[in-house]
Point group: C2
Chain length 249, copies 2
């Protein structure tokens, strides 16, 4: 009773490849896959947190009590794992930012909450932060194109996250007075670069007395971004616009 040899299996089904044949042998694994994927990401995060951002795939897999091939099957390559972890971390950070942004009174407060969320995230797991923000893990040796293809995936995602509100703010009517905006599309990246650099120096600072709190640093960075450090710029600006929030508890 051999069945027809031409009709091998349902993968290249001639009639309808879409719905009406829910093969249990495949569908059985979908739930398992998503669950396992989540678990793998979670374990990878723990492993990186414990082993450092340079943890190898083997180390990560060993921490998960499995082997490298599982990770490679689920994430393709190491950059895929990086991206997956970054997605989760970004989602949590985004959640925090959204919650805080609801209570924000203005763009300044909104941005302050973002910076704060960023710093808190980095502080919570510096190793995971370093892993996620790393530029091309696999591309570093193979690419000879010159400039980095883009920023790291996580930073690119953060940039995309803040780009829209920033753009809206930069183009708001009351803000068009200045002669700025020669290149406003660079501001989100620039701002994140500032946050990142300050945050990483802050992370590297031992938690001694001189180290500011997350709140203080976030407030400071927000001030730099919104007010700058130049006090009035003597030639063109009289003394009208001194800086505002002198006393802000």
């Amino acid at each position: 009773m051999k069945l027809a040899p031409s009709r091998k299996n349902a993968s290249v089904v001639p009639g309808d490849p879409s719905v009406p044949v829910p093969d249990g042998r495949s569908s059985r694994w979908t739930e398992h896959r998503t669950e396992r994927r989540r678990e793998l990401i979670k374990t990878a995060r723990r492993a990186i947190d414990a082993l450092g951002p340079g943890a190898s795939m083997e180390d990560i897999a060993a921490t998960a009590d499995t082997s490298k091939s599982v990770y490679y099957r689920y994430f393709g390559d190491k950059t895929g794992l990086q991206r997956a972890v970054a997605e989760v971390v970004l989602g949590q950070m985004q959640q925090k930012v959204l919650d805080a942004a609801k209570a924000a009174s203005g763009p300044r407060e909104g941005f302050h909450s973002m910076v704060l969320a960023y710093l808190q995230m980095a502080q919570t797991s510096p190793n995971v932060y370093a892993f996620v923000t790393r530029v091309g893990i696999a591309e570093s040796s193979a690419s000879d194109d010159g400039a980095h293809d883009t920023l790291a995936h996580f930073l690119a995602a953060v940039t995309a996250m803040i780009s829209r509100p920033v753009r809206a703010f930069l183009l708001s009517p009351e803000r068009s007075a200045g002669p700025d905006d020669a290149a406003p599309e660079y501001w989100p990246t620039a701002a994140i670069g500032m946050v990142r650099s300050a945050g990483e120096q802050w992370l590297a600072t031992p938690p001694g007395p001189g180290r500011p709190t997350e709140e203080q640093l976030a407030r400071q960075i927000t001030g730099w971004l919104f007010d700058g450090i130049g006090p009035g710029e003597p030639p063109a600006l009289p003394s009208t616009t001194r800086r505002q929030e002198k006393d802000m508890p």
Copy 2:
């Protein structure tokens, strides 16, 4: 610049380092060493410029018509070469900055010239820039300390370069009115991070119509750093009630 003796060789004098017997056989080589070292750095720079920031030591040595071991002797490891190249690049940039700073009218113009020099340097050789800016080439896999030990060497040097004038400016009498300065020691790093991020996005932008010139971008960044983007910041800003609802992946 001190030329460090490589690491294990007989560069340390055997008997007494202070005895006034200048052995000609030793002193003759010092000049040769410095000259050769300079040549090796120069050739490495050309090789990286041609091959990309991920060029291997063998590629670099082949471009210099020599072998890897020469580079390893002179620079210890790849990070040492990175540091040496960074030193030269930084020196040239510093020269340019100093020349420009002499003609600067104030801190703003001085900083503008610095940013401009940075951008021009990066633009001149994007590959060398990427090589020099890269964080730990050898530490990435061996170190599990967590945070990067410091910033990249080049960026740390640039930070050190601008830290002193910045500190002097931040503590200048007319600027001490604001309640800022909760963490002024983070500003140089933060500012360089902004310059770096904006510059790298700028480098990655194809030189089409929308791309600003170095001058424009430098002017823009200087404006962001000195004036910020929030002009006045009226306490109640109604136009940003609900922005940033984002799609979560």
